[in-house]
Symmetry: C2
């Protein structure tokens, strides 16, 4: 198979013509054309290798040969649908059940995380006979109409908030209303959910569900404070609702110590519905909803079939099974603990050197490094984060940002990421931040002052400075912000919701 | 790879425990376990061969080696997402564009027909700034929350009709308000849409779109009367809405003479949005939305990214391209014309022999044979259709029913279906219907009278009669109908929406 059919320019031209422009490219001003990949490495059309720090979908590594073999063998044998009996779907459900608390023992297979969350919403509503949903601020749960409604990250830019959606504060102890110095932020944030439910009840609303990623990703790689989920689940169940744990970005061992991120909250917490996606098939379109017998029974009781044409087909399940095998055989959870732990340590060391690094947080290979203008105000260093990502790309490291201000550098690499990879990326970050800091001290002795934009527009030697891109970006951003604040988060030509 | 891991009974037991029971099995009282397939043939765990008359998803035939090769080669090379540049997506969009009118030149790739229709609804609303939707009665457009709302086939059993949904009569010239003897049923049915729009306008509603399958499938394998779509499109556009052609079941050459079923309505009709699914990847989860530059531009203008994690990935596109290649290389459209034409002729011949066959309709390999109690009243022969399907299964032919009364025997086989297959299935149908007719004449000389149910319950030699199943079913149905009319359509343990 040819690695490349068209020259990169032609691919780009065709893409602009043929593919809806709402589908954005990474690094839109100079996108990357990737033609092959293996493990944690991507290769462009010239054979240049990139270290991949963000492809959480390619969970066990790009193009794992076991998966290709499993897919090809099953494709050669049978691909049908769930109306025929087949062993793969029951084998696979059984294997998934073994990773979950006993209570979560009924499965529905679908094709994407979005389809999983949409079905979870149907299950919750059918079981509770309630309609309203509580979600966390800045959350993203998928691209479908039903999910944009429960994703503040999206609906704030689109249709706005529906009356049946209730937005609770993100339990972010770095930026939020209760911070790391609070004696019990888990309880305090859970109480905000309780208040929201009480308010909803006063308006006559009935809560069907609380939806949350077990570690909010688009929200900025947030780690829930201890006890939060358990208390929220209690409040939601008291209101007759159910707890939906969106594990689409965080499941399948990414946190290392546990198979599911919700398990970080202790053995006495168990969601009522768990949705899975992204890493489940290592890139193959498969996703899943796990729930309790009671909820499944209520859904069956409506007497209407749920049929998903491709969901749970023998090929998808064969690939899903192969992913579980590789996670076990290659001890990828152990690797996430070891490499993730080491990476976090390295980033914490960098934090002692670089005032720009305000916070380092995460578990396993789900890590966020938040950049701030200064540590006292915690003002997000959005441009600096974008600059870092662009400079890392020049060093052939693919990285991205997240969080409400795109100020969080997010690590969600394939789970075969190595100690050497972690050291390489941290060395690069160190160099880039050192360069940034030195230059800022030369050009802007007072870091809080602003370079006058006219200086940037003058044709001077500044443009040859290594930081020209950074200032150009800063100027562009200022200009855009003045023009239209809403579009400012798009300056990279890419939202950061889904990698 | 082992063909079978568990004994069939154990598979069934595990399935009942682990998989949500809303996911139903064909022939729920004695489901079929299929372990391998090739072309138009399925094989059960004992190696018994079944002729597959309904798997329209496995469009170019089960387990086509070209597709397995294409998938494996690309899986070994790269599977990423649309934020990186790649040739496959533009190659594939370009190939699809060549099958469509020039106006439909912008593409979005997703994972399922449901995701495609959900996106189509977003596109229509964003472009028109209107909200309401006109749909056809009995229509099914997908399993997502947004699509149940526009699927009378589903919402009538669930949430009911939303105020923004307007249901137009199904232009069914066999059962509908205007029949084959009407001088211009296309115009007459289009006028019902016009009236509906006028009524909606009076209530202050604004129409975003008209959604229709280009050949309504769940509705009963309906062929639109000449001129219908063009006139409807005119009315809908006059109202500021767009025409969405759901080609999920009917596209990719199934009708033989054309690549898309909407093209049967003539060159002067072109939808504004076309959605594709099912056959597009021969079972691999891929789907697509094609639209105009203007609609795509309006969607881009909202400034919000559309990212679909798996949609349009290099593997999905490689498989999509391989499907297009096979359709061309093996002249499957030509085969659909030849075999479909022959099959229809054979069924029409059967109609002359069997009063039970009320109507035979269809194009290419999309054919419906409707059974009626008697031809004058056109009363649907639901039990007889179910009996025929069960008896065909005994003859190792997999068939299914569709239509509002499940009285339509539907043919949507893999496109490699042969003349011999068509003759085999028609010979079987002939024998079964002859047997049914002879037995009815012996047992029930007056076909309209009813056997008293007590006679069926008596332990007598009747139970050994070849029609025992039929009468047992008939009794069961009567019983269920009395108990709960709503659940009557589920007696086969399976809705008929999606095969």
């Amino acid at each position: 198979m040819a690695l490349e059919v068209f020259h990169k320019d032609e691919t780009l031209q065709m893409r602009r013509k043929l593919i809806g422009q709402s589908c954005r490219l990474f690094f839109s001003r100079d996108p990357v054309k990737i033609v092959r990949a293996r493990g944690q490495y991507l290769y462009d059309e010239n054979g240049m290798q990139y270290l991949d720090c963000i492809s959480n979908v390619q969970h066990v590594g790009h193009c794992h040969p076991s998966l290709t073999q499993a897919a090809a063998a099953q494709m050669d044998l049978l691909n049908s649908n769930t109306r025929f009996l087949h062993d793969n779907i029951v084998l696979y459900a059984d294997r998934l059940a073994a990773t979950l608390p006993k209570k979560l023992c009924v499965f529905y297979f679908v094709n994407s995380g979005s389809e999983a969350n949409d079905l979870a919403l149907r299950l919750a509503r059918q079981y509770t006979r309630h309609h309203d949903v509580v979600v966390l601020d800045h959350a993203y749960h998928g691209h479908l109409i039903s999910l944009i409604d429960i994703s503040p990250y999206k609906f704030r830019k689109l249709e706005g908030q529906k009356e049946w959606v209730h937005v609770a504060p993100l339990p972010d102890t770095y930026h939020g209303i209760y911070r790391e110095d609070h004696p019990d932020p888990g309880q305090a944030y859970a109480d905000t959910v309780k208040s929201l439910i009480d308010e909803a009840h006063k308006k006559g609303c009935k809560i069907s569900s609380f939806f949350a990623e077990s570690l909010p990703s688009v929200g900025g790689q947030i780690i829930f404070p201890t006890g939060y989920c358990k208390r929220v689940a209690e409040y939601v169940r008291e209101a007759g609702g159910v707890y939906v744990a969106d594990e689409i970005q965080t499941g399948f061992g990414r946190v290392g110590s546990h198979f599911w991120a919700f398990q970080l909250q202790g053995e006495d917490f168990c969601p009522d519905i768990v949705t899975m996606g992204k890493p489940i098939g290592n890139g193959h379109p498969i996703a899943c909803v796990a729930t309790t017998e009671e909820i499944a029974a209520a859904f069956t009781a409506n007497g209407v079939e749920y049929f998903n044409t491709f969901g749970g087909n023998p090929v998808s399940c064969a690939i899903g099974l192969a992913v579980l095998d590789v996670i076990e055989k290659e001890d990828l959870r152990g690797n996430a603990v070891r490499v993730g732990g080491h990476l976090k340590q390295l980033l914490l060391q960098l934090q002692t050197k670089h005032p720009l690094i305000g916070d380092v947080r995460g578990v396993g290979l789900f890590i966020g490094m938040e950049l701030v203008k200064d540590r006292a105000s915690r003002k997000p260093a959005t441009e600096e984060a974008a600059h870092l990502v662009r400079r890392l790309k020049e060093e052939r490291i693919v990285m991205s940002t997240d969080g409400p201000w795109d100020s969080v550098i997010k690590f969600k690499p394939p789970m075969c990421f190595s100690i050497e990879d972690a050291e390489r990326v941290c060395t690069c970050i160190d160099q880039i931040l050192r360069g940034l800091s030195e230059t800022l001290n030369v050009i802007l002795p007072n870091r809080r002052s602003h370079l006058h934009t006219s200086q940037l527009l003058q044709p001077c030697c500044f443009y040859n400075h290594p930081l020209a891109n950074y200032f150009h970006l800063k100027f562009q951003r200022k200009f855009i912000l003045n023009k239209d604040r809403k579009s400012s988060r798009k300056r990279n030509g890419c939202d950061t919701d889904v990698m």
